[in-house]
């Protein structure tokens, strides 16, 4: 019955371990429900040309799909890094989420345009089908057109090297340092 006196200690250790693990879990990061599924189809105008596009417009794969809006401050932080990625040859498609197309075009004219094209999602319906719950969010669409990864929040060098690089091995060469200046 000697072992009995260690029960509180063991219970404490287990609890402490669980709580310590909890410290490094971000509860706002939700598992993406759409992982492994084809990118949902849509019929929306393109931001610059105004022509109607569908999911087949995402032609250069694997690619990033970046959910952004002019009202989203973190998107401004993230923008220089997207420009740097585009320069590396990573195809980026934009989903202009619940935004004013006029403001969005101004933004791209001022800050530069890293996007192959932009899906105008003024009502947020494409975002809803994707399971978007805020901007910025960045998805990886793999070569087969399936959603392979989702990142919620600002995409920066550290995140890209950790979670994204395996779909874009060509971008492994040093990414321009300017990209990480917005890191918080």
């Amino acid at each position: 019955m000697r072992a009995k006196r260690f029960i509180p200690l063991v219970a404490f250790a287990v609890l402490a371990g669980l709580l310590f693990r909890g410290l490094s879990i971000d509860p706002t990061e939700l598992p993406a429900a759409r992982l492994g599924q084809p990118f949902p189809d849509f019929a929306q105008p393109e931001l610059n040309s105004g022509r109607q596009i569908s999911v087949s417009a995402l032609s250069e794969l694997p690619a990033l799909v970046n959910v952004w809006a002019t009202w989203c401050y973190s998107c401004r932080v993230e923008h220089p890094y997207l420009l740097a990625l585009a320069e590396q040859g990573v195809p980026i498609y934009g989903l202009n989420y619940k935004d004013e197309p006029v403001k969005a075009r101004e933004w791209l004219a001022q800050l530069g345009d890293p996007y192959q094209l932009n899906v105008v999602d003024k009502e947020g319906s494409v975002g809803l089908d994707l399971g978007v719950y805020g901007a910025p969010e960045t998805y990886v669409v793999d070569a087969a057109g399936h959603i392979a990864h989702r990142h919620v929040g600002v995409l920066d060098e550290a995140v890209f090297q950790r979670d994204f690089i395996r779909w874009f091995p060509a971008a492994a060469s040093p990414v321009v340092a300017v990209g990480s200046e917005g890191e918080q």
């Binding site: 939700l30 809803l128 399971g131 978007v132 805020g134």
Partner: protein
């Protein structure tokens, strides 16, 4: 005239008090085609969790995404979708997370089993507790120990 005014004011105050619990939820106007749909709308909007502000349901949350989900909920109800279809639609997009009563799967089985497991743990603990008590108490003192106690108690305090 004065009395009428007083009654009116009192009625207004009472009216507001009566409204108070209702105002806790976000105010929006939807025209439901039947009271049954409205009832289901309230039930479902309280059971669906806002993905952005995670400790609120979509009925209480002011987040844009919660508003969007309420609109979807309203539209689907009016289109005749069943509760299960609506929940499946939400889960397909936002995962089981979006339900306050998630289905049982690999991720949630512990969540569902936890109350039962804790209860069993408690029962086992109690069982052990009551089993061992009497034996611990029944250790009688030897005569030498009893004498020692008497001596100690008899010692003058300083």
């Amino acid at each position: 005239m004065k009395i009428a005014l007083r009654v009116l004011i009192r009625a207004a105050i009472c009216g507001q008090l009566w409204l108070a619990p209702v105002v806790l939820a976000v105010i929006e106007t939807y025209e439901f085609s039947s009271p049954d749909l409205e009832l289901r709308y309230h039930q479902l909007s309280q059971e669906l969790r806002c993905p952005k502000c995670q400790n609120q349901n979509i009925a209480d949350s002011n987040a844009p995404i919660a508003r969007d989900l309420r609109v979807v909920l309203y539209e689907q109800l009016e289109q005749g979708a069943t509760d299960d279809e609506i929940l499946a639609f939400m889960v397909a997009r936002y995962g089981e997370f979006v339900r306050y009563r998630p289905g049982v799967d690999r991720n949630t089985v512990l969540l569902w089993a936890a109350p039962g497991l804790l209860l069993m743990l408690g029962a086992v603990g109690l069982l052990f507790h009551f089993r061992q008590r009497p034996s611990a108490r029944s250790t009688d003192l030897t005569e030498a120990e009893q004498a020692e106690i008497t001596r100690l108690l008899g010692e003058p305090r300083d």
